[in-house]
Symmetry: D2
Amino acid sequence: MTLQVTVWNENVHEREEPEVAERYPEGIHGAVADALTERGFETRTATLGEDEHGLTEAVLDETDVLVWWSHCANDEVSDAVASRVVDRVHEGMGFVPLHSGKNSKPFKRLMGTTCNIKYRHGGETERVWVADHGHPIADGLPESFEIPSTEMYGEPYDVPEPDRTVFISWFEGGEVFRSGLCYRRGRGRIFAFRPGHEEYPILHQDEVQQVIGNAVEWAAPTEGSEAVWGEVEPANRED
Amino acid sequence: MTLQVTVWNENVHEREEPEVAERYPEGIHGAVADALTERGFETRTATLGEDEHGLTEAVLDETDVLVWWSHCANDEVSDAVASRVVDRVHEGMGFVPLHSGKNSKPFKRLMGTTCNIKYRHGGETERVWVADHGHPIADGLPESFEIPSTEMYGEPYDVPEPDRTVFISWFEGGEVFRSGLCYRRGRGRIFAFRPGHEEYPILHQDEVQQVIGNAVEWAAPTEGSEAVWGEVEPANRED
Amino acid sequence: MTLQVTVWNENVHEREEPEVAERYPEGIHGAVADALTERGFETRTATLGEDEHGLTEAVLDETDVLVWWSHCANDEVSDAVASRVVDRVHEGMGFVPLHSGKNSKPFKRLMGTTCNIKYRHGGETERVWVADHGHPIADGLPESFEIPSTEMYGEPYDVPEPDRTVFISWFEGGEVFRSGLCYRRGRGRIFAFRPGHEEYPILHQDEVQQVIGNAVEWAAPTEGSEAVWGEVEPANRED
Amino acid sequence: MTLQVTVWNENVHEREEPEVAERYPEGIHGAVADALTERGFETRTATLGEDEHGLTEAVLDETDVLVWWSHCANDEVSDAVASRVVDRVHEGMGFVPLHSGKNSKPFKRLMGTTCNIKYRHGGETERVWVADHGHPIADGLPESFEIPSTEMYGEPYDVPEPDRTVFISWFEGGEVFRSGLCYRRGRGRIFAFRPGHEEYPILHQDEVQQVIGNAVEWAAPTEGSEAVWGEVEPANRED
């Protein structure tokens, strides 16, 4: 069954900064969605400016995995939509925040921490190393790949100890960062991926698209077991 | 240096139900605080009905570990105080929610999950098994101890996979539950302990008091390293 | 692509105890293999008495997942074959030890602990609870299932803290046990499943077979990334 | 109570290479032991060439934490002594392998993996970043510290996913490495610390000594609970 992916983007830089618009003429969401469509996923997009930010119950009903890009407008996401996303993750929807999507309301609520980092603009080389060479999100990758110019993120990264550390980045300026982290909350899988800064064509880069595609497959809902909550009779009653 | 502990309690059942008041004449907070004072901690109490629920910045400035009991009034805790507690945990304060304190705003925000369970009233035996016999929260305990009558909590327990599973409970009616779970969020340590239902004298029980005392010691803040957040110059700049 | 499963069994109880032979006329390995074949896997068996215990390099070359049952003859497995199995797990082969397979040389070497437990013969009820309702090894299961008569295993279980705790068992006699635990070692996935005592028809039970089938799918090798070991030139050399 | 530390060293480079002997006139073990004695621990040393490698049962009886340096002679450690060390860790002794002590028999047996890495000689700068700023092994450290010249270790590091990732190193040549990892096996705590190559005066460096001292405190045995193994009567028998 083809996985259904919704790529959400605040879509602000693209509208306000000509260089970003030129780099991503269909928006960052468009670029990511195209890459995922090419990889065989059924893909749609949604943006902040749409009604309910485009993340209605109906859209989420048809979303196996939500890929999320946000940055300057994280606070403009309504609490109601943020809660809806969190609830869906608990119920099994995959969630893949990219870059500063780590500051989004849904991700911070799912983590329970500040998600603070250090950072630096200016454009420097990042080399993304695979730390967990047996992880499916690393499928088909070389042992490392380089992003020629990017914003730096540095440790400490104030998130809970992850289930798996898939990638660790090296930065030209001397810092390191856990760039690909796996979590589960409720039935839902979360993969936080660092790359994706809007000032460079990072989301057009093949390795980056491959990671996002792998992450979508990994984060797809699985059936799991029945779960009963609330007041119950003794399990031993039939004995 | 003596650890400073604040025992917080909603203090509602004690005021509204004569049996609970009789069982805990100083309140659940009073009973827990007495037990911790006897174990050598510097202890104070705070309750929902106080100004800012008794959890002012000044009180938290003098709190190494916050022990928390709540149940029916979880929703009456203000968002501001809940956020204050969460912030303090991120900065290093220990947090030990007891029993249905697992439904408190601070715990749920720190976990990022629903914290759902199944449950049953009526009074049945619980046997609390040590699963992690090398953990300091199990110091001095037998391999298991029995709570003669309690409310049952059953799996699944919708929390993130814990750092350590210290206790697992067996219930007469046929269920099991992970009764003692360790987490870290930011610099702060969290230990969620299941026992403590108000309808039975559980918090007067020696093993239960010992676990809470052990948890306070384990959850105490440690110094850690410097942490720098925000925009930075390259670490390599001095080269 | 159809997964290739090898079901290994020491095959001693079946040859020495008529009741076990009657219960498992094709051996425990035969019963498990049949169940997996019915679920669509390509299945073969191997036993202790065969040359190289039936686990030659050629057989392992065609094994995606190795299911392992052992008990009284754990010490008779040669160190060479145990090492071969461990090496294969490091390279990606899935490994699913059943019941006292937790005392096998490969499992103990992969864990690095004693794998000690407490136990009791005599036949009592076990109720296996799903603790991780979102895990694929729980796919399609009810919230719990009962094994009418079994040997008891009790905590503490001296294994490393698992990646995920999928099942926790309740025993009639008052004990609990983490019955389904997930690990990774190198590229390989390991799922240790408690049920399967030879004195009862447990491996004919539908839920047990379903768990083993789910575990085989979960433990199947994935591609992962390239990994380079040993002496290397600087990654920055092309700069 | 003063912690008792044994610093073990293969003591081969110091005897065979004049530059190493000059750098560490009392041996690497002597330098580390001195640093720990200054920090208030009761310290002794042991080396490969001694009877039973200096790790007799009597010595281990008086060892709370074993710090271990080894490199070229890892294979010369007898299986019996390696097993003895592993057994002691299971029983609660702390274990702190330094640098290529990650290839020692005890560490590899405790991990259950190959512990493979990539490496490079030649002397380049390493910057050790604190990833877990709330961890006691980072107590009192700056957010990072630099080792001016060292051998490089690079990811992937084939170890089990750690309980906590305390340090991540940046290398001048473009690699990264998880330099400080926490594990527990049985009752014992393990901290694997990367720095310590014999060709540079790294073990004389203050931050490195501080980390080792912090690790000794962290790895010290704690009491834990009673643990009963083997055949048992039902826990419910007294009911």
